[in-house]
């Protein structure tokens, strides 16, 4: 009943627009969950946005901080949240009360684009579509702990967990049974089983023994076995990228702490696909709002100027800022154009005549089909890796920038395609977070924790790393270490509970 009421909470004119836009979107081939629109005032909008879309989230001050920042920037007229859409089934979307009809129409079209992406993109295939309920469960659990153990205790613990929130393995949800434990292959004859020092030998007559199984070979085998045995004793057996999971299972935590850490980890995993597909998701939604509004008769003639103003407001590029809406939209359009004109495949790629390349048109008309395929299977990294072209970079005026230490300013570094692509991909790898793994949970056989930063050319920020290590210590309760590099030299940062050591 209440669900039913909500669907009709739109005023009649918007309701009929919603129906029309939905019909057009379906006609265009978009496929989304049932979508519930609600009109809410700006303070409610700020509130929901502060909670990351989930008004039922657990209590924590940082949501209050986000709220204050949003409320202030709204009050000063600096920014306004037009649209908020939640990846659940049904999909919930919020419209800002008091916006003009043209804004609401644009937002609806945009939302259906997001809805289609949420439902069909592979990287969202593992998300919990009933996350609203789960978040509410998380919240009530945290509230209960607050009642039992006191606000500051629980809050401090959440703070600690949040500093480690980015240490998850974003790809693990897509790998079925990631850690299959295989028994070690044993090729010892049966009578020698269980004898660790035994080495498999070839059967040989006694006088041939030294030739068939030479003693240096036997020695080498023994050494190899000993090494392997040591490896087996390693903990974790392989470096563990999901640091939160490792802590969840191995850190000396009480039950409620384990639960809270689990909550933080679950939510981090829920939001991860959105981080992995930001450019595509916004690009896709923008592609569709532009198309539905301008080419499908949704936009009234009198609204064109307002529409153009809003649209360009979203697409604006500031120097030195990469706008995911703009980049995604342009790249989708570029793909559509290229596949319409047949600018793909061996013949096109081997063509070195620039004029011929530019004029290339086989009338393949595969563009629409291609972009739907792309939105199904790609994430930001593969999207850019596969479809970014030198022509596109030049057209979009992309560049890389770097910090110039002597002038203490940021400068444009290069407009080379290879450089731009490399930087972009590096920036998107692991959602722009450093890759950090648990290397050893029994470092130096003293139950100390060793994390390794898989250094890929960019150093960590020192002060943040120190502070985070201190928090990690408060979970592990034994000295913690982080192996990284600084200025290309190996560096081991350790915290022993009292102070930071650098080695």
């Amino acid at each position: 009943m209440s669900k039913h009421l909500k669907i009709h909470s739109l005023p009649p004119d918007l309701w009929s627009w919603r129906k029309k836009i939905e019909a057009v979107a379906i006609e265009e081939g978009l496929d989304f969950f049932e979508t519930v629109f609600e009109i809410i005032p700006y303070d409610k909008m700020n509130e929901i946005a502060a909670y990351g879309g989930f008004p039922t989230r657990y209590p924590h001050w940082r949501f209050g901080m986000a709220y204050e920042q949003m409320a202030k920037s709204y009050a000063y007229g600096l920014s306004k949240i037009y649209e908020l859409v939640i990846n659940t089934d049904p999909t919930y979307a919020f419209l800002l009360e008091g916006n003009e009809v043209v804004d609401q129409k644009l937002v609806m079209a945009h939302v259906f684009g997001h809805g289609d992406f949420f439902k069909n993109n592979y990287w969202f295939s593992q998300t919990n579509r009933k996350m609203l309920d789960q978040m509410a469960n998380h919240a009530s659990r945290v509230r209960r702990y607050v009642e039992l153990y006191g606000q500051s205790v629980v809050e401090e613990f959440i703070d600690v967990c949040l500093t480690l929130e980015n240490l998850i393995d974003v790809h693990s949800p897509y790998i079925p049974q990631k850690r299959e434990v295989k028994g070690r292959k044993v090729d010892l004859p049966e009578e020698m089983m269980g004898d660790d020092a035994a080495v498999p030998r070839m059967r040989a007559k006694e006088y041939m023994e030294e030739y068939i199984n030479p003693s240096d070979y036997i020695e080498a085998q023994k050494r190899k076995q000993a090494e392997e045995k040591q490896k087996r004793a390693r903990f974790p057996a392989q470096p563990e990228r999901d640091v939160l999971a490792f802590l969840l299972h191995n850190a000396p935590l009480t039950r409620w702490q384990r639960n809270v850490l689990g909550v933080i980890r679950d939510e981090a995993y829920y939001f991860a696909p959105q981080g992995m597909t930001k450019i595509m998701n916004e690009g896709w939604a923008s592609y569709w709002h532009a198309r539905i509004m301008t080419q499908r008769g949704i936009l009234d003639d009198s609204e064109i100027i307002d529409f153009a103003d809003r649209h360009s407001g979203t697409m604006v590029m500031h120097q030195g800022r990469l706008n995911p809406y703009k980049l995604g939209l342009e790249l989708f359009r570029d793909i559509e154009r290229r596949w319409d004109r047949g600018q793909f495949g061996k013949a096109y790629h081997e063509c070195e005549d620039m004029a011929a390349r530019a004029a290339w048109d086989t009338k393949a008309m595969k563009g629409r089909e291609k972009i739907f395929e792309v939105r199904r299977s790609h994430n930001d990294i593969t999207f850019l890796d596969e479809f970014l072209t030198p022509e596109f970079c030049a057209e979009q005026k992309l560049f890389t920038f770097a910090h110039h230490p002597r002038a203490n300013e940021w400068q444009i570094a290069s407009r080379e395609f290879a450089e731009i692509k490399k930087k972009l991909l590096a920036q998107l790898t692991n959602m722009g977070q450093p890759i950090i793994e648990v290397e050893d949970g029994d470092y130096e056989q003293r139950s100390e924790l060793l994390l390794v930063h898989r250094h890929a050319g960019v150093d960590l920020q020192d002060d943040y790393a120190y502070a985070t290590l201190k928090n990690l210590f408060s979970l592990w309760k034994r000295p913690v270490h982080l192996a990284t590099k600084k200025k290309s030299k190996d560096l081991l940062i350790s915290f022993d509970g009292k102070q930071i050591h650098l080695k």
């Binding site: 509130e47 901080m65 120097q319 800022r321 706008n323 979009q396 150093d459 960590l460």
Partner: protein
């Protein structure tokens, strides 16, 4: 209370606590001065940010979009150009939080355990305010109370038997009309004036003035929270004294000698002419490095203090800032002439050796709650 209100007030509470914890540091660094709006200040509070393993942004660089040649500048500083993306709420910047001056005063009061001030002679100044608080039967149409009027009309028509539930028409007549009425409330109101006097002779250096500036900012913040209306006046002196505005007060540097009595005379004239002590709470503050030209002038100053300024004021405060050139003599003379240790003595002296001493000095000045 809605959830976000709870989280928000928790956030404010944490900000409050962090500021309080770091108050000494904030005070001695003078960080909030200059970041001051009308009733609020911006305080840099990176302590509140949750740390995490992240890349050093200077080492990382990035990709941008737009015009320009390699080598062109995109802006300087520590922050990456265009950090945070369009449509994204968060950006990890050096965090600054807004705090109202009232909040700041509250924090100062808590940390220094300052008593609230008992205003004197305040009852004479009275403000009047109108409040709508009742209903009457006559009044202007603009104050008509629609609901009450119709309620009366309905009651009347029911008792008279003219009300027909099937055709419910209610027409108010003259007697049914009801109007809002107001009451005038008067509340006592107290005013305060703060007079800052500072020695700007050659021996007072930049650092000394900065100390005075920081200290006066905090004293002002506190006094403002204690009085509804407060006026602040500034007097500088070397061998002669004059009234100046705030900016000049902190940025003037003279090279002449020092005659403290000149400032006291200007202050006295100002007080007798504009601020009768029966209506005003008076707070003169005088900062100098303790140098005075002559013994004659010192005794003249002391006389002015004991006969006029101290009796008029709630409290007269003298802060002596240590400078490499000053002799620091004046405070000794004051100590000799006044029973500073007695509880009734409304002359309070404090020596401020360096920035770290500011907090203690503020406490010395304000702890009596006068």
């Amino acid at each position: 209370m809605s959830r976000i209100k709870q989280d928000h007030s928790r956030f404010r509470q944490i900000v409050h606590g962090k500021i309080r914890k770091n108050l000494r540091q904030f005070i001695s660094r003078g960080e909030m001065i200059g970041k001051q709006g009308n009733d609020r200040v911006k305080i840099p509070l990176p302590q509140i940010e949750l740390p995490r393993f992240k890349f050093n942004s200077k080492d990382q660089g990035g990709v941008g979009q737009g015009e320009g040649q390699p080598g062109d500048s995109l802006g300087s500083g520590d922050q990456q150009p265009g950090q945070g993306e369009a449509g994204e709420g968060e950006g990890d910047k050096g965090l600054e939080v807004d705090v109202t001056l009232d909040e700041l005063a509250e924090i100062l009061g808590e940390e220094l355990e300052l008593p609230h001030i008992e205003p004197k002679g305040a009852k004479q100044v009275v403000t009047e305010k109108d409040r709508y608080s009742g209903i009457r039967t006559v009044g202007p149409n603009s104050l008509r109370h629609f609901r009450r009027t119709y309620k009366n009309a309905l009651k009347r028509s029911i008792t008279m038997g003219t009300f027909d539930a099937r055709a419910p028409v209610v027409i108010p007549i003259r007697d049914d009309m009801r109007y809002r009425s107001w009451k005038t409330e008067s509340s006592p109101h107290s005013n305060a004036v703060v007079i800052y006097m500072m020695d700007v002779s050659g021996s007072m250096g930049e650092e000394q003035k900065q100390i005075v500036r920081i200290e006066s900012f905090w004293i002002n913040t506190w006094l403002k929270s204690q009085y509804r209306g407060i006026s602040t006046r500034y007097i500088i002196h070397d061998a002669t004294a004059k009234e100046v505005d705030e900016h000049t007060f902190f940025h003037t540097r003279e090279s002449g000698g020092t005659k403290i009595s000149s400032a006291y005379e200007v202050a006295l004239r100002m007080l007798t002419e504009e601020y009768p002590s029966s209506d005003w709470n008076i707070y003169p503050f005088h900062f100098s490095d303790g140098d005075n030209w002559s013994l004659d002038d010192t005794s003249r100053s002391i006389k002015l203090l004991s006969e006029h300024l101290i009796p008029m004021s709630n409290q007269f405060s003298y802060g002596q800032v240590k400078s490499p050139y000053g002799s620091g003599q004046f405070i000794k003379d004051l100590r000799r002439s006044f029973p500073l240790d007695s509880a009734d003595c409304t002359l309070v002296c404090s020596e401020i050796d360096n920035r770290d001493a500011i907090m203690g000095s503020i406490k010395t000045f304000l702890k009596a709650g006068r």
